[in-house]
Symmetry: C2
Subunit: 559 residues, 2 copies
């Protein structure tokens, strides 16, 4: 047992200056004055003294200290994240209730406070029942979307309450909510703060109010923020949202009082995605054991059939037979070793891929319609067939706009979407960027150096839709590098790339033919003139010859 | 209020095939068969039906589903992360109790299971008191390091319990712990699982056992894992740990039964870092209000003085005077608006930077000693003075090794450390990489293309030490891009770069002089021969002349 040797005697002043040199600069057995000084004045820690400090950390405290994980690392990003979280929730709620979303965003500067703003987001959604309002806005990790496999914008139950927490932290103000579920019901107004030590909502105000909205929810948050233009601006976020969500109408009033309208371009709601059960290939031992213990079925076979997707009678029997488990065994009686066999057997059995109507794509026509906002020459889009990663279905959509008014002198713009939500930050960390950089764009007529994004007058849109999008952090700005997802994106990019290259080649051939034609036609008058001299014709004949030759050229070049 | 129009009549089969084309590919008012089919069979969602699904999400469930956030996204990374979390905890505990750490890591393949391994990590630390063992290993967000500002490897209280949770999820096994706090006390052995729905430990076994270790802790986890060589291997992690922690002795037994020893190279423990109070410049309104309400002081002045660092009597009085608050006011009576004034006043007042003895650097000599493991020609290191980001003190250390056996034909190797812990993954997302790519290495004799890492036979070590390292995710693999941290790293790199360039230039001049000397000396025999012919000397004189001329050359070139 190596114990600490006493070093008090050898204490030596640490120089604090920088040193550098050749081999042998280090010496063994040095000591530092601060260390030894402290040892004289401080009691040594023991398991007992340490144990007194060990305690629970609440999830709100955790995210307060680590708020960059949620997208609140600086004031301009905080403003965007707050709006994004509120809009995500509004759109999810409207679509679930099959209401065409009307979103109003208002940002106002707080009186006399340069760096503090109020964000108000209002929707015409189904509203929220009174007793759930404080939890949804005043508690992290609370929501309806986490526990099911269904494509939605929100998934964690963190976003909007984290925005409220950030607002409270930076301005001390509570989150203010008004919500109404139907015309014949009252509108409820709440003011809620978060008790970060316990992660529970504290209700400051709870009243019935008059409201000019039949049903819907409005949330208002004061926060420290900064207004920003350009790539990461609110305008850009709304514009990109409009491209992928043509059924949404958004009105945005800036802090300067200007109002921007983004009307919907279709009255058609996207197909409502279905909730699915987990697929056997994606399940792990711990989850399987938990499912066996909490199932409502009374037999293992019943549990497999009802709690998983794509498990038929035949599949269930085959799986149980291979695992050596009796089909009518009580699920809660399955021991760890048996569950392990069951899992192995599940993985060995051929089971259909999960159903894919749980995913609602934007669709090729609407992607092209969205991209037309960009004023290009050429548009193409691909909606790929659904695929599966870790048992979760997902689907890739790609769109490319090329030429026209798009800028020629820089890297192509990449529009990234996850479940119809535009991703603005952390482009470098995202699997979409990797796929786009990893594709050989030179084959498709764009220039590209190394493994970088290609150059050229193009915009590339990539949409990853899934029942569970694997984000690299809670701020949901980049998608993790699952090989299945990478592969699907690359296949989609290649397909769109081929179409673009056909367009680019056709355009190039047209331009070349045009050039050749002009080149030849510049000789025609000289030929006519020479023929006239040789054959001693008059001026009228010369013109005729020119006309005939030009006619021949037109026909032969098919122009 | 725009309501969903019925679309059943216009239902049209979605083609499912890909389409592409020129402008005008989109049409308004389309509909999709799946959407309309579903509408006939499903009840429309309302606020009431949605509210039934809204519920709490436990932090363990959250991280089970998002386990890539914790570094458990694939089996080989999971193995490394598990070992890393266990070693981090062991080293923190040993250092806090002022014990020279002896760490033993054993990885064994589970019998008959190709992809399952058991990891055992054992230390000679102070041990853990019996009642805390289940919480520390069976509960996420539990620990002693989160609530204080002190430099430590662990900070969140997530790591080791997350490793246990991953093990449980993939193998169904509990975490097994033995711990003993002193020779005269019994060793306790626990088997603990995590109830992920509630985030609480479930004790499977709790017994006293015989143990051959006087004090210390041993943790054993079964998990699905993959053995990996190279850059992200366990060996590489331990080697890098040894470089930055010369006081640690590690024994590592691989699954093949081979044992690698990494003995300590110093018997000196690092200076024990001190815990500090928050600095007024880093505090935000919400935190200030919470501190005022929970302080033990009975006056505002007392609260400022005792709960913050660097607030003297004079500073406190100045701050309160400017904020218009009476010095003896009761802290709990301070209203939101007053707190806001207090905060503004704190930011306007000149307050000393936080004390920096809360950070314990590795030190230049030990960095050089560590780098000598690499067999280079030249070593240099810089420990910079502490600086502050968002009120948190931090300190940068840089080391460079150049030449010798280091490879010449690729990008330099970057060794990243945070609080003495090597960071292996996510190099691209880390502020250290940004700083290294953003430095003009051509000035210092390395080749570099664009904003990439330079090329050349060099290894660059960067250590970020802080009371709170801002990681980009819970897996603690990359440091966030705070401008203050970026700047300090770049200054350190430049300083080391200059020293390296002096070495490189000196070497280049030496090589050139050598070349010149050889060039001249090749002429000496000819000169001697010519002189002999002209002066008609004998052979002996010719040799003498050669000798004299060579002597002159040697002296004049100073070789």
């Amino acid at each position: 047992m190596a114990k600490k040797k006493t070093t008090k005697k050898t204490a030596k002043k640490r120089s604090g200056k920088t040193t550098g040199g050749k081999k042998g600069g280090g010496k063994k057995g040095r000591s530092r004055s601060r260390a030894s000084k402290k040892k004289t004045s401080r009691k040594r820690e023991t398991a007992q003294s340490m144990s007194k400090r060990q305690r629970d950390i609440s999830i709100s405290e955790f995210f307060t200290k680590n708020r960059h994980l949620l997208g609140f690392d600086n004031p301009s990003r905080a403003l965007l994240t707050t709006i994004k979280e509120a809009v995500d929730n509004s759109l999810d709620a409207c679509e679930e209730a099959e209401i065409l979303p009307d979103i109003r965003i208002v940002v106002t500067q707080m009186e006399g406070q340069e760096d503090r703003f109020t964000v108000r987001v209002r929707d015409n959604g189904p509203g929220i029942v009174r007793k759930q309002i404080p939890n949804i806005f005043g508690k992290l990790l609370y929501g309806s979307k986490f526990h099911r496999l269904k494509m939605a914008r929100g998934q964690q139950g963190i976003g909007i309450s984290a925005a409220g927490m950030y607002g409270q932290l930076t301005t001390g103000s509570p989150v203010r909510i008004i919500s109404r579920t139907a015309k014949h019901r009252p509108a409820h107004r709440f003011e809620v703060t978060i008790d970060t030590q316990k992660n529970v909502p504290r209700i400051q105000t709870d009243e019935k109010v008059e409201w000019d909205c039949e049903h819907g929810t409005q949330v208002e948050i004061d926060l420290e923020a900064k207004y920003q233009k350009g790539r990461w601006s609110i305008d850009e976020y709304i514009r990109q949202t409009a491209i992928a969500n043509p059924h949404v109408s958004i009105t945005y009033t800036t802090a300067d009082g200007k109002t921007h309208e983004y009307p919907r371009s279709t009255d058609e709601l996207p197909a409502e995605p279905r909730e699915i059960k987990p697929h056997p290939y994606g399940v792990e031992l711990g989850v399987l054991i938990k499912m066996l213990h909490s199932t409502k079925s009374r037999t293992v076979k019943g549990c497999l059939k009802s709690d998983f997707c794509r498990v038929s009678d035949r599949v269930a029997e085959e799986v149980l037979d291979r695992a050596g488990i009796y089909v009518n065994a009580r699920p809660s009686r399955i021991a760890r070793q048996e569950a392990d066999n069951l899992l192995a057997s599940l993985k060995q059995t051929k089971i259909m891929n999960p159903p894919t109507n749980c995913i609602s794509p934007i669709g090729e026509e609407l992607i092209i319609q969205g991209l037309q906002l960009l004023d290009a020459d050429f548009y193409t889009a691909v909606t790929r067939s659904p695929a599966v990663y870790r048992g979760n279905p997902f689907l890739i959509e790609i769109g490319i706009a090329y030429g026209g008014k798009l800028r020629d002198d820089s890297a192509v713009r990449l529009l990234r979407y996850a479940n119809r939500v535009p991703l603005l930050y952390q482009q470098g960390a995202c699997v979409i960027s990797e796929a786009a950089s990893d594709t050989s764009w030179r084959n498709y007529g764009l220039s590209q150096s190394g493994k970088n994004l290609p150059q050229g007058p193009a915009v590339i849109l990539v949409h990853v839709a899934s029942v569970w999008v694997p984000f690299t952090s809670e701020s949901k700005e980049a998608i993790a590098h699952y090989p299945e997802i990478l592969k699907e994106i690359k296949l989609g990019l290649q397909e769109c790339g081929r179409r673009m290259s056909i367009h680019i080649n056709r355009r190039r051939r047209q331009r070349e033919a045009e050039k050749k034609k002009q080149y030849i036609s510049s000789y025609i008058p000289h030929i006519s003139n020479a023929l006239r001299n040789i054959l001693e014709l008059n001026e009228g004949s010369e013109e005729e010859i020119t006309e005939v030759l030009t006619g021949v050229l037109e026909r032969s070049r098919g122009a």
